[in-house]
C-alpha cells in the first residue's frame, strides 16, 4: 500500500511563475491492483505519478511505501528504490534514439551490476513475450508507434519491478492497439504487479481490467462523478 498525507508540490517557488501543481493530496493506493488517475491535462496527475515513483520530492507532506517513508530520502537513495520497485512507461515512450531495441530494453539494468548475459537473456525473453523479438537488433527510430511502446514496456519490466507506472499510455495508439495494451496490463495484473496509470482515455477508464479510478482536477482529488 502507498499512503500519501497532505502532499503539495510547488514549482518555481518564490518566483513570479510560481505554480502549485498539487494542493494537499491525501490518498491510499492499494498494491496488487490497477489504479487509474484520471483528469484533464494540468490536473496534476503526472506530477502525482512522479511523486509516487520517487522521481521527485513533494514540497510538503509525506509518502509511505509499504510503511517506509520515502519523502525525505535524498536522490541517491530514492533512485535505488525507484530502480528496484518501479518500472516507467512514458507518454512519448522516451526511447534513446540511435541504439537498438535490445540496448534500449537493457538500459535500466546497467547501473544494477547484474551480469550482462542474464540481463540480455531477460530482455530477449521480454521482447519475445511482447512479440517484437524479431526487431531486437533494429534501431528504435525505425519502429512503428505500437512497437516503440512495446519496447518501452519491455524496458519498464527489465528490473522486474513490483509497480508499473504508465503516463498516458494510449495517447498515441489507435483503439485496437490500445485494447492490446490493456490485455498486456491484464497479464501483469494476473502476475501480481501493481499498475498505476495516468490518463483520460475512456477506453482505459471503463475497462474491466481497472480496479480503481481516482479523479483529479486542479491539483486536488475530486469525488467520483462517473
Amino acid at each position: 500500500m502507498i499512503r500519501l498525507a497532505s502532499i503539495t508540490k510547488t514549482f518555481n517557488a518564490g518566483q513570479p511563475n510560481e505554480f502549485q501543481a498539487l494542493k494537499g493530496i491525501d490518498l491510499e493506493v492499494a498494491l496488487d491492483a490497477v489504479s487509474v488517475f484520471a483528469g484533464p491535462s494540468g490536473s496534476g496527475k503526472t506530477t502525482l505519478l512522479s511523486l509516487l515513483g520517487c522521481m521527485s520530492r513533494p514540497t510538503s507532506g509525506r509518502i509511505w511505501l509499504e510503511g517506509r517513508e520515502i519523502t525525505s530520502l535524498p536522490e541517491r537513495f530514492a533512485v535505488r528504490i525507484r530502480r528496484e520497485t518501479f518500472g516507467f512507461i512514458f507518454q512519448n515512450y522516451n526511447l534513446v534514439k540511435g541504439i537498438t531495441v535490445l540496448e534500449n530494453t537493457m538500459l535500466p539494468a546497467y547501473p544494477t551490476g547484474v551480469s550482462h548475459r542474464s540481463v540480455r537473456d531477460r530482455a530477449l525473453s521480454l521482447l519475445e513475450g511482447l512479440g517484437i523479438a524479431s526487431k531486437a537488433g533494429q534501431h528504435v527510430e525505425n519502429l512503428s508507434g505500437g512497437e516503440q511502446q512495446r519496447v518501452a514496456i519491455a524496458r519498464a519490466l527489465i528490473n522486474d519491478p513490483a509497480i508499473i507506472i504508465a503516463d498516458e499510455p494510449t495517447a498515441h495508439l489507435d483503439s485496437s492497439l490500445a485494447r492490446r495494451l490493456l490485455e498486456i496490463f491484464g497479464g501483469f495484473r494476473r502476475e501480481g504487479k501493481t499498475i498505476l496509470i495516468a490518463c483520460h482515455d475512456p477506453l482505459i477508464i471503463e475497462s474491466p481490467v481497472v480496479d480503481r479510478v481516482v479523479f483529479m482536477r486542479d491539483g486536488r482529488i475530486v469525488p467520483h462523478d462517473h
Binding site: R57, P58, T59, T71, S72, P74, E75, F77
Partner: protein, 332 residues
Amino acid sequence: MIINPAIIALVGGSLLITAFALYALATALRILRHWDIRSGSEGQLALERKTYLISTIFAYLLGFELFSLFLFVFTAEHMHGLFVGAMCAAGSLGVNDYGYPTLILKTVTFMFCGVWVIVNHTDNRCSDYPLIRPKYRLLILLTVLMGLGTFLQTGYFAGLRADVITSCCGTLFSGDTESIAAGIAGLPAGATRIAFYLTVILTLRVGIHVLVTGRGAGAFGLLAGMTTVVSLIALISFIAPYYYELPTHHCPFCLLQEDYNYIGYPLYLSLFTAGVTGAGTGVLGLLKGPPSLEAVIPSLQRRLCLFSMAGFAIFTLMATWPMVFGDFVLGS
C-alpha cells in the same frame, strides 16, 4: 626559475587543482549555510545536487594529488644534474628552502584528501547526510592545504637557479646541500629498527582488536598515523641502505629508480594506502552521529582497518626482505 615541461605541468596542474578546490569550497560554504535536510524545497534539492559535484571533484583531486606527488619527486630527480652537489632528488629538493616543505605538504595533503574521500563515502551511505557539516568543514582545511602547497611549489620552482656556466665566471660553485634527510639518515639504525618493528606489531595487534571487537578504532588510527611517520623515518634510516646495499646511501627517492627495480612504488603505495585507510579508520571511530551513521560505520571501519593492516604488513615484508635474503649487512 627553470622552465621545463614537467615544471609547467606541475605548476599549471597545481593552479588548476587549487582553483577547483576553491570552487568546491565556495559551494561547500553555501551548503554549510543553507543546508536543511528536512526541506523539500528547490533550494535544498539544488544543494544536494551540488554534493555530487564536490564528491566528483575531490575524487579526481585525490588521484591527481597522489600523481603530482610522484611527479614532483620525479622532476626533482630529473633536475639533479643542474645543481652542483646534488646526486639525486634529495639534493635538488635541498636547493632552496621550499623543496622539502613542498614535499611534506604534498604528502599531508594527499593523506587529508584520502581521509576526506573516506568520510564522504561514509556520509553518502547514510540517507540523512549526518556528516555534511564536519565533512565540509574539513574541506576548508583541505583547500587551505592545497593552496599552501601550490604556493610552496611555485616558490620552489621560481627559486631554482641552474648552476650553468654564466656570463662572468666560468667556474666554481661549491655545493654542500643540507637536508632533513641528512638528519634522519644520521639516526642510529638499531634504535629506529626496534621502533619501526614495535610500532608495526603494536598497530597490527590493535588492528586485530578492532577487527574482532569493533572497538579501539581511534587508537588504531593514531597508531597508524604514527607508524606511517616511523616507517618513513625507518625507510631513510635503514631500509633504503639495504636496498642500495650501501651503508651511506639513505636517499628515499632513488628507490623509485629503474636501478632498484622501481621497488619504491610498491613500498610507498602500500605505506600510503595503509596510512590513509588507517587514519580513515580512526576518524570514523571518532565520529558520532544518528543511528543511520552508526549502522554503516562498523562494516566500513572493519574493511578500512583490514586494508590498513594489509598495507603495513606488505610494507614491512618488503622492508624486511633484503635484510633476510640479501647478502648485505648494515653495520651498527
